[in-house]
Every structure is written in structure tokens, then in C-alpha cells.
């Protein structure tokens, strides 16, 4: 096992910060490439006119997931050393719903708002400021929300563990679901485009 390199002592904390910056550059680059610096494009996902959010997100998930699978299988990557956020399912259900609402209202998510600000979107900047304000508010109100924050804590759980389905089969399942989703997404987009411009049919 050679990877994750940092956790196996290949380089230190300072170097990992440089790595963070470089990885961030890649992240921001592809976000903007995909058009995610634009709130209109992002939000089109939820009006079914442009499902790029779904396509990009799930392609990324599938790519990384397959990469992780093959690299662990080959003995190169020690999966147990890759950090997994523990599950607090109640907090995460509520958090997810709030995030979804905020997405439609604000037009961005934290990462894309940075990309938007970088490319000159004033609403992106306002979103960033709003996010900062919300974070501060949450911190100040923490004693009140602590109960919800820790609700549904069940520790670190993966889908294979919880569903009792072998890892590889789930990976295949996710790929199948994603590819079917992509086919469906193209179909939906064409339908919505046809609806929007009936004169060109």
C-alpha cells in the first residue's frame, strides 16, 4: 500500500497545504469549465431544462468511485485511511433539505459560489457573504441547535455495511443508476426544449 501518500508519511503538513491549493485549482477549474460559475445554469437542474448538475456530479462520483475501487483492489490505496464523515442521519436529512432550498433561493452552493465570485458574479459574492453570515449565526446559536446537530448519530457507516451488499456490486449498481440517469436526463432535456420552442418542431 503506497497511498494515501500523506497518511503514510510521504510528506508533511506544510506540503499537504500546497497539495490542497493545487487540488483546489483543479476543482475550481472544472467547476467553471462545466459552467457552474453561473447560477442560471446550476438552477436549470431544478427546472429540468439543463441537467448538467446531475451529469457532472454523478460522472465525478462514478469516476472517483471506480478509481478508488480499482486502486484499492490493486493494493495501491489503503481505503481504511481515507476519511469518511460520520453519519448523523437526522441532522443530515434536515441539513440536506435546507441546502436544497438554499440552492434554489441562492443559486449556488459554497464551492460554485467561489467559482462564481472569481468570474465576476456579484450575486456569487453576495451568496458568499450570506453563507458567512449563516455560519456565524449557526455558531452563535449553537447551544440551541446542538440537539439537532447531533441527532441520528450512528457513527461511520458505508452503504455496503448497512445494506449488506458487497462493495463491488454496489459500485456496479451506482454506475448502472448513473448511466440510466444520464440517458433519462438527455430525454428530459429534449422534451423540455421541445416544450419551450414548439415553433421549431
Amino acid at each position: 500500500m503506497s497511498a494515501p501518500f500523506y497518511k503514510l508519511g510521504a510528506f508533511g503538513d506544510e506540503a499537504s497545504l500546497v497539495v490542497a491549493f493545487l487540488i483546489g485549482i483543479g476543482f475550481g477549474f472544472f467547476l467553471e469549465r462545466a459552467g457552474f460559475g453561473s447560477a442560471k445554469k446550476l438552477v436549470s437542474q431544478f427546472y429540468l431544462t439543463d441537467l448538467a448538475v446531475f451529469k457532472v456530479m454523478f460522472t465525478a462520483i462514478v469516476t472517483a468511485m471506480l478509481g478508488v475501487t480499482y486502486l484499492s483492489w490493486a493494493g495501491f490505496l489503503d481505503l481504511s485511511l481515507v476519511y469518511l464523515v460520520p453519519t448523523y442521519w437526522i441532522a443530515q436529512v434536515v441539513g440536506g433539505l435546507l441546502l436544497g432550498v438554499g440552492f434554489v433561493v441562492g443559486g449556488y452552493c459554497p464551492g460554485t459560489s467561489i467559482a462564481a465570485t472569481a468570474t465576476g458574479k456579484l450575486d456569487g459574492l453576495l451568496f458568499v457573504l450570506g453563507f458567512a453570515a449563516g455560519t456565524l449565526g449557526f455558531a452563535l446559536a449553537f447551544p440551541l441547535v446542538k440537539g439537532l446537530y447531533t441527532a441520528g448519530a450512528i457513527g461511520t457507516k458505508t452503504l455496503p455495511q448497512v445494506l449488506g451488499i458487497p462493495y463491488g456490486i454496489l459500485v456496479f449498481g451506482v454506475v448502472l443508476m448513473a448511466v440510466s440517469g444520464f440517458v433519462g436526463a438527455s430525454w428530459v432535456e429534449k422534451k423540455m426544449a421541445a416544450k419551450a420552442a414548439p415553433a421549431t418542431e
Partner: protein, 187 residues
């Protein structure tokens, strides 16, 4: 209206026309993103994120004004432990990179311009207000959810993390549920 080919989004009529290149094929962009994520796993053993950087920054700002309170606050205190400067955090550097990377891509594609993204039926002021409010709502969601779309959906999703998939489904659910209510902002 341009025909929809290869997922190029047609410019909405009436909005400021931009001499910008079309966006990249979403599947290719997704592969690029996925490889960046994979690189993070392989190099550092962790995934991407964004909301954490905001937490660190807010913790730092509060500690400048009220250091004692900041350290004792259960949420912010986490980011102020030890002697390390709160901004010397992995995510802070990563988010700084996101800014640079997006700027780079935008410059290459001629997509950097001062503007406000909004639909034709709403004013700039309203849009900016919504952006701020939406951002604050998202912050609450991200704090409760332990992450946002990059940290939870992308990272946790690719690692088959239970909480991440639950979170991701709720994000889509919540967004679709209220999309109709806010349609005037966008279309």
C-alpha cells in the same frame, strides 16, 4: 434560439449576450472533477470540501474580536484548537485554489465579467437579496449536514458513505420541492 446540441446551453433571449466559449461537455467536466477528487484521495486521504473553509474563516474572525468566546464556543472552538492558525487549514487552502482555478478557466474561456445572474422577471436588488438569504440558508444546511455538495455529495458519494447519500438525496429533494415557488427569480 440555437438548437440544443451536445449539451450546449442556448443563451436566454433578452439577457446580456456574452462572447464566451460554450461550456465543456458535462461528462468530460465530470471526469475531470472525479480525477481531481481521486487525486485528493490518493495524495492526502481525504476528499474535497468548501463549507469547512468558511467555518475556519469565521472562527478566525470571531477569535480576532472575542478570542475567549471563540475558543469556548463548541462549534467554532473546533477550528481554534492547538497552536495552528485556523487559516492554516487544508480546506482554506483548497478553497483558495478553487478561486484561482475558476478564474483561470474563466479567463481562458472569456467568461470573466462583472454581472448578476438572474432571470428576466426580477430586479438586480431582489436577486442580490435572495443570493444572500440563500447563502445563509445553505450555511445552516451545510453545518447540520457536515458538508455541502462537494464534501458530502461528491466525496462521500464516491466513497459510498451512508450519510452522504442520504444528504445528497435530501438536497435534490429540497431543491425540487421549492423550485416552483422561486421560479420567478430564474425564468
Amino acid at each position: 434560439m440555437a438548437s440544443v446540441t451536445q449539451d450546449v446551453v442556448p443563451e436566454a433571449a433578452g439577457e446580456k449576450a456574452r462572447v464566451a466559449q460554450p461550456y465543456m461537455n458535462p461528462y468530460l467536466a465530470g471526469i475531470g472533477l472525479g480525477l481531481v477528487l481521486l487525486a485528493a484521495f490518493v495524495l492526502v486521504g481525504r476528499g474535497l470540501g468548501a463549507s469547512g473553509a468558511f467555518n475556519s474563516t469565521i472562527a478566525w474572525l470571531v477569535s480576532l474580536v472575542a478570542p475567549g468566546y471563540a475558543r469556548s464556543n463548541e462549534f467554532l472552538g473546533n477550528y481554534l484548537e492547538g497552536d495552528t492558525h485556523p487559516l492554516k487549514a487544508w480546506l482554506v487552502f483548497e478553497v483558495a485554489g478553487v478561486f484561482v482555478g475558476a478564474l483561470l478557466s474563466g479567463l481562458l474561456a472569456g467568461r470573466v465579467a462583472g454581472s448578476v445572474e438572474k432571470g428576466p422577471r426580477v430586479s438586480v436588488g431582489t436577486r442580490l437579496a435572495f443570493a444572500f438569504v440563500g447563502g445563509s440558508l445553505m450555511a445552516l444546511g451545510a453545518a447540520l449536514g457536515r458538508g455541502c455538495t462537494s464534501g458530502q455529495a461528491l466525496t462521500g458519494g464516491s466513497l459510498l458513505n451512508l450519510g452522504s447519500w442520504v444528504f445528497m438525496m435530501c438536497v435534490f429533494g429540497g431543491a425540487y420541492a421549492v423550485a416552483f415557488l422561486f421560479r420567478r427569480q430564474w425564468r
